[in-house]
Amino acid sequence: MEETLKIIVLVKHVPDAQFDRHLTGEANAVDRSESILSELDEYALEAALQLIEARGGEAAGNKVIALSMGPAGAVNAVKKSLQIGATEGVHLSDEALAGSDAAATSLALAAAIRHLGADVPADLILTGMASTDGETSLVPAQLAERLGLPQVTFAASLEIDAGKLTARRDGDTHADTIEADLPAVVSVTDQINDPRYPNFKGIMAAKKKTITTLNLADIGVDAAHVGRSGSWTDVQTAEARPPRTAGTIITDEGDAGIQLVEFLAAQKLL
């Protein structure tokens, strides 16, 4: 009999990267009005679902909890995760969280994860390789540091056996095999699997699943330690980069390669 797994997947509601995105307001925060479940989080969710399905799924006592922190709209990332197959959802939402940097975000997430279970809140905390909006990739490492857990980032494969995980990481100069004891924080790359789409059955089943909403009081975090004022970094100015404008475009009439080199020479790039 395989061990059962309780996996928390961190999912984020982010502006759709297919369109222009903007910073807004006095705090220069990301405009989240047109947002979706971060594409990169779908790989983490899929990895979690494959791990529990190999162990008999929800019926055998395994859980995949989709946890999202964010304003009211972020519940949509949780709902989408439930449609894809997460067994339950948690939405951490509080006005005081707005403007949190990575340090404040990891503080709130660590408290929420501890709230979900006493000593061993989960066997595994899974994330995508980055959010497609903040792009700092700091939160998984900071969360691991706050929870005192090992972190394995950019896993291109992930196996779990007897309380231990084995992952593969592909670096520029070498590929590593990594081992860590559970619980651990793991981020997965977009190479690890092909995420499934929600089907009709999943969409109907999701309506019966529980979404727990938590605020700062529920998780015992002082509002002064999160949000813009509780953050350890502050964005002071933001300026839209002037859009790149098209330069000279030519159609090859047999000597475009030579013209290309002339352009490089004129730019002193040779």
Binding site: A17, Q142, E239, D255, L260, V261
Partner: protein, 317 residues
């Protein structure tokens, strides 16, 4: 005066260009020290002196490379304490950012990633949302941790070299307790080309190369460039995933980015649109890449690139 600590991980014989850039930025902010993990050879030590490091902090343990990031962050935290550092600089690689992340929690320090410049007062400049905005950010904490992108400054040695002291830093007993272990490593064949993230010139191919990177490699070698690729090319298996430039790959800001057979959709653009000069070759005149190219050729890359390579070789005699 600010005290600045630069993390140098396994310098080997010669420091990387990125390390030299970090040391150059550090000197512009204040007194510079280096935390060096791994073996320190004479040549690398001489370079650290030439770049003005006044103290070299070394870990008491030699096995930090057997683990992922956690123990390195513990070493750096101890070194920052010993140095009384106000600013810690690391490179902006994935590992560099993770070390910075954990270090920030250990020191209670704000972390700013993807930095391209630092003002003397500690304000960091960076670009966000895939290069569509430039922002300035500052840590509100007494200590700040900055991860700095390659190609941000021109490395320059100090006016007068130092004779740095070496100080061994004791690691906390639990530094490796809850860390992931590296149990096996397979080296990839070493490339003669420059590192993609650091390269001054990048030649990148996409769907249009149709499995044949040959003409791109020839041009790259004539220019001393690194090879990059779009997600379409790496997903097709034509080239390794580590060559991918874009949202789910690397972000590069070279002096020159030559894009061949890449349409230039947002996923690709977000990884390269801060390049200084963009040259594009694509058969399809409607490709979005032409909206951001400084020089574009609507044409067949299998004709244009070899002709350009031959012309470069001819001019260089």
């Amino acid at each position: 005066m600010a005290k600045v600590l630069v993390f140098i991980d396994n310098p080997g014989q010669a420091l990387t260009k990125t390390s030299l850039e970090l040391l150059t930025i550090a000197r512009s902010l204040g007194e510079t020290a280096a935390a060096v993990n791994g073996e320190l050879q004479d040549e690398a030590a001489a370079t650290l002196a030439a770049y003005g490091a006044v103290t070299l902090y070394r870990p008491s343990a030699a096995d930090l490379d057997d683990y992922l990031v956690g123990p390195k962050a513990a070493f750096l935290a101890a070194a920052a304490g010993a140095a009384g550092a106000n600013v810690i600089l690391t490179e902006n690689s994935a590992e560099g950012k993770e070390i910075a992340a954990r270090l920030g929690i250990r020191l209670g320090a704000g972390v700013i990633t993807d930095v391209v410049a630092v003002d003397p007062g500690g304000t960091a400049h960076k670009s966000v949302l895939a290069g569509s905005y430039t922002t300035t950010a500052k840590a509100t904490t007494p200590v700040s941790v900055l991860t700095v992108k390659s190609n941000s400054v021109t490395p320059a040695p100090a006016v007068s070299a130092t004779a740095p002291d070496s100080v061994t830093v004791q690691l906390p007993a639990d530094a490796t307790a809850a860390a992931a272990r590296i149990t096996a490593r397979v080296d990839k064949p070493a490339s003669e080309r420059p590192d993609l993230a650091e390269a001054r010139i990048v030649v990148a191919g996409g769907r249009g190369v149709d499995g044949d990177f040959g003409p791109l490699e020839d041009l790259a070698d004539a220019l001393g460039a690194a090879i990059g690729a779009s997600r379409a090319a790496t997903d097709a298996g034509w080239i390794g995933h580590d060559a991918q430039v874009g949202q789910t790959g690397k972000t590069v800001s070279p002096q020159l980015y030559i894009s061949a057979g890449i349409s230039g959709a947002i996923q690709q653009k977000s990884g390269m649109q801060t390049a200084k000069v963009i040259v594009a070759v694509n058969k399809d005149a409607e490709s979005p890449i032409f909206e951001i190219a400084d020089f574009g050729v609507v044409g067949d890359l299998f004709h244009v690139l070899p002709q350009a390579t031959a012309e470069i070789k001819k001019r260089r005699g």
